[in-house]
Subunit: 336 residues, 2 copies
């Protein structure tokens, strides 16, 4: 179970054996129609029904950096890149409505892998009620495959404001919706060829399933700040802290339940690393002036910085030494 | 003048010497604000003011396939990738409002080149009144640089319908707004180290300047079908012909004026190739049931296929042997 299922990236008919219209002919029928889609892909552009304010975001995955072919199928990659984009829309308090997908691939990439990728994208979109609005296919140097997604969404209601990172205030509760550390634990297990020790964690690493509905729910419940955990709790929490000018005090006891879910599989110390610094989880992290809504786990509190203190994240009164991921400084290696 | 101006792709401080926030700190201040931008980039997502229908499209350029560092500066690349996306919005009859930009680059790419790229993007967006809504930075294997843009736009008025490729009808006039063949002639001259023979053509190759305002104007004037010429007149015309089930009869005399603009520089035969098959021009090609609006050049007519005749493009009654560009079949070479 540690290796991927589904067609391999190479082998079979390569893309270079087909023209663009043949490739699109294999892919486009996979995408379900949507009530929001006024003009489907195939013209110069698509046309999407929108409200007065549209949320837009984009995120890209690159073979060898964001996924390894040995561990993730095309469908895994497609599911994940859609999920991480939709999570950003949800983290603004919005409902995702559409995605555009660009594939830049070595012409030797297998058409079967590309169809599997498209199937993963299609399934993730259908589950979220999101339309595929178009895309682009381009050839790349040998060995290069990357998938870039742009997601659009509506704010939940005409009167609702987007939930930014900058709205956390002293006295708010810090809460998370969804898991923490599972994706990183799954990666750890894949790297150590121990995937069968925690299949759920491996599955979250391959195919995160963000709690998308919780984004608009949190906005309606008065969330003061929100984001999705893509680079790790401490690093992403630090973004809320700096944008809001506050200190987030994590509650070690509240985090123990997340640690407990993975410590048997990866060990106690690694489990804490995963919970505090593990990226790619795409759970929602938010602050609430009042009670957190049902389904959210309170994991800390917001306070004003003391005199001379910088905004940031503290655990037991000190800054955790888990800084998370940076693309260029960390070079070509894999996360975390 | 045949070589680019501006910082080279490598040399100076590489991206890997900076963290993502330092890179963004150099880039984001270049982007002008826009009345359409409700939440600027920097949170999980941006928020854009939209109307009830939003046009969306995406297009990507890859180093070595879509541009060569020897010929195009970062600013050239940024200008061009924005222009080709905005042209797709205009070709639906829309007004572009925003773009998202993804850069996937070898960590050894120079920060100065990236800033030059961003300056080109910023200038092209500012000229068009378009907001930069966000983006993504990712690292790529050595030697790989690609820039992906997604563009959004509004239809000109709440009551106006998008102009598709499928609306051309027998009796319509076929007309073009903007140049034909200049971008391909410019590429030909760069390839033969003769850029000084037609600096304007070389400039169009490096920095196409599509007639964006003409898209909504054509829609208002009743254009029945429209697209932008990205893969060549014959190939793109064929898309209108097939989508509409019609034959487009090109008028050789009307095309002579486009040929005449480049034949001194590239020779008569190559000039015809450039006009008929040259891509990357991003002029608008449309069909009109009545008179074409001012500024459009009528270059042909639309008729129904004869019995047993396939939809397509004819010149002097025969199908031109210029098929245009296909990414995967043509392999890794450069256009055309």
């Amino acid at each position: 179970m540690s290796t991927r299922t589904g067609p391999s990236l190479t082998g079979g008919t390569p893309l270079r054996g087909l023209d663009e219209e043949e490739v699109l002919g294999r892919i486009l029928p996979l995408f379900a129609p949507s009530a929001d889609l006024i003009v489907p892909p195939g013209d110069d552009a698509a046309v999407l029904a929108t409200e007065s304010r549209t949320i837009v975001t984009t995120d890209t995955v690159v073979l060898g950096r964001d996924w390894l072919d040995a561990w993730s199928s095309g469908a895994d990659v497609g599911t994940k890149v859609v999920a991480q984009n939709l999570a950003d829309v949800a983290a603004m308090g919005g409902r995702p409505t559409g995605v555009l997908v660009t594939l830049v691939a070595d012409p030797m990439t297998s058409i079967d892998w590309v169809v599997d990728l498209a199937a993963g994208i299609a399934a993730a979109c259908q589950q979220a009620g999101v339309a595929v609005l178009g895309g682009d296919l381009s050839s790349a140097p040998a060995g290069v495959v990357m998938v870039s997604v742009t997601a659009l969404g509506n704010l939940a209601g005409a009167g609702s404001a987007p939930v930014l990172r900058s709205g956390a205030r002293a006295g708010d509760r810090l809460a998370v919706r969804g898991s923490l550390g599972l994706a990183a634990a799954g990666l750890h297990l894949l790297m150590h060829d121990q995937a069968d020790r925690h299949p759920e964690a491996v599955n979250v690493q391959r195919r995160p399933d963000p709690p998308l509905e919780a984004g608009p729910e949190a906005a309606a419940a008065g969330a003061s700040a929100m984001l999705d955990v893509s680079d790790g709790l401490v690093r992403d929490g630090g973004r809320i802290a700096r944008a809001s000018g506050v200190v987030l005090e994590l509650d070690r006891d509240a985090l123990r339940e997340f640690v407990a879910q993975i410590s048997d599989a990866v060990g106690e110390e690694t489990a804490w690393d995963c919970v505090l610094a593990g990226g790619e989880e795409h759970s929602l992290l938010a602050t609430f002036p009042g009670e957190a809504p049902a389904g959210w786990h309170v994991i800390g509190a917001v306070r004003s910085p003391a005199e001379g203190e910088q905004p940031g994240v503290l655990l037991d009164g000190v800054r955790p030494q888990h800084s998370g991921w940076d693309h260029f400084r960390n070079g070509e290696g894999r996360r975390p």
